[in-house]
């Protein structure tokens, strides 16, 4: 993990490779590890960068739920069986599966919303930490973060 000054202070970010084979989606992600977020989601800009096929997702989920993040509202399309690959401190590769991860799409396509959505990162939420029983250790003074199992 890496600690980066973002949006008013240091925040922990993970580095993962995402694979959603069912949708032919893959690529690197730099999600904010957010213990205040219940769910893991792919930001609208990361979804665009990774070529998330919203036409396929909307066929499966014609009525997606709405997520509110950073004062914006997004349609949240579930993507099933998503693998996240990362490496630990010893550079050993680890693999995790989340079901689902939500791909976000702005509910409003006005210019102001598009500009503001650029600020919203992808989020690794409590569903990930809870499923794998991870604890987030975040030392603000030293700007060090990691996740450990009890």
């Amino acid at each position: 993990m890496v600690v980066k000054s973002y949006g008013g202070g240091p925040k922990p970010f993970a580095r993962v490779f995402l694979i959603a084979s069912k949708y032919r989606v893959l690529g690197f992600l730099h999600p904010f590890v957010d213990t205040g977020a219940p769910l893991t989601c792919l930001s609208s800009t990361d979804a665009e960068r990774l070529h998330v096929p919203f036409n396929v997702l909307s066929a499966h989920t014609p009525r997606p739920t709405v997520h509110y993040i950073g004062g914006l509202s997004f349609w949240a399309y579930p993507m099933e069986n998503v693998t996240l690959k990362t490496s630990d401190e010893d550079s050993k590769e680890e693999e995790f599966i989340l079901n689902p991860i939500y791909a976000l799409k702005l509910t409003k396509k006005d210019n102001e919303s598009i500009q503001r959505a650029r600020l919203i990162p992808s989020i690794l939420g409590m569903d990930f930490l809870t499923k794998y029983r991870f604890t987030l250790n975040f030392n603000l003074d030293k700007k060090i973060a990691n996740i450990t199992k009890p």
Binding site: R15, F17, L26, G27, R118, I123
Partner: protein, 87 residues
């Protein structure tokens, strides 16, 4: 002349290691890079900012012209100065 776009079907260890190195470099140099590329997306590869744009779509086009796959490149948005973000 544009290079052929790299194909990405699976990850190998070197790719993940490279991404982590770029991520560390960006974190270490974040304020400096942010000042230079304020309110823009930047793409980082091999410890260098290789493209910037105000829109993610345009950034992807710039990367493709360089033969770089946006999916395997570290892309980050440089927040406006003094932005406080409540997520």
């Amino acid at each position: 002349m544009a290079m052929k776009e790299e194909k990405v079907d699976e990850i190998d260890e070197r790719m993940l290691e490279g991404f982590i190195i770029d991520s560390d470099w960006l974190a270490e140099n974040y304020e400096n890079i942010r000042t230079k590329h304020l309110e823009k997306f930047v793409a980082v590869k091999n410890k260098k900012v290789i493209a910037e744009s105000q829109s993610i779509g345009e950034l992807q086009e710039l990367l493709k012209k360089q033969g770089v796959d946006p999916r395997t490149t570290l892309v980050d948005f440089m927040l406006p100065k003094d932005t406080i973000l409540f997520l």
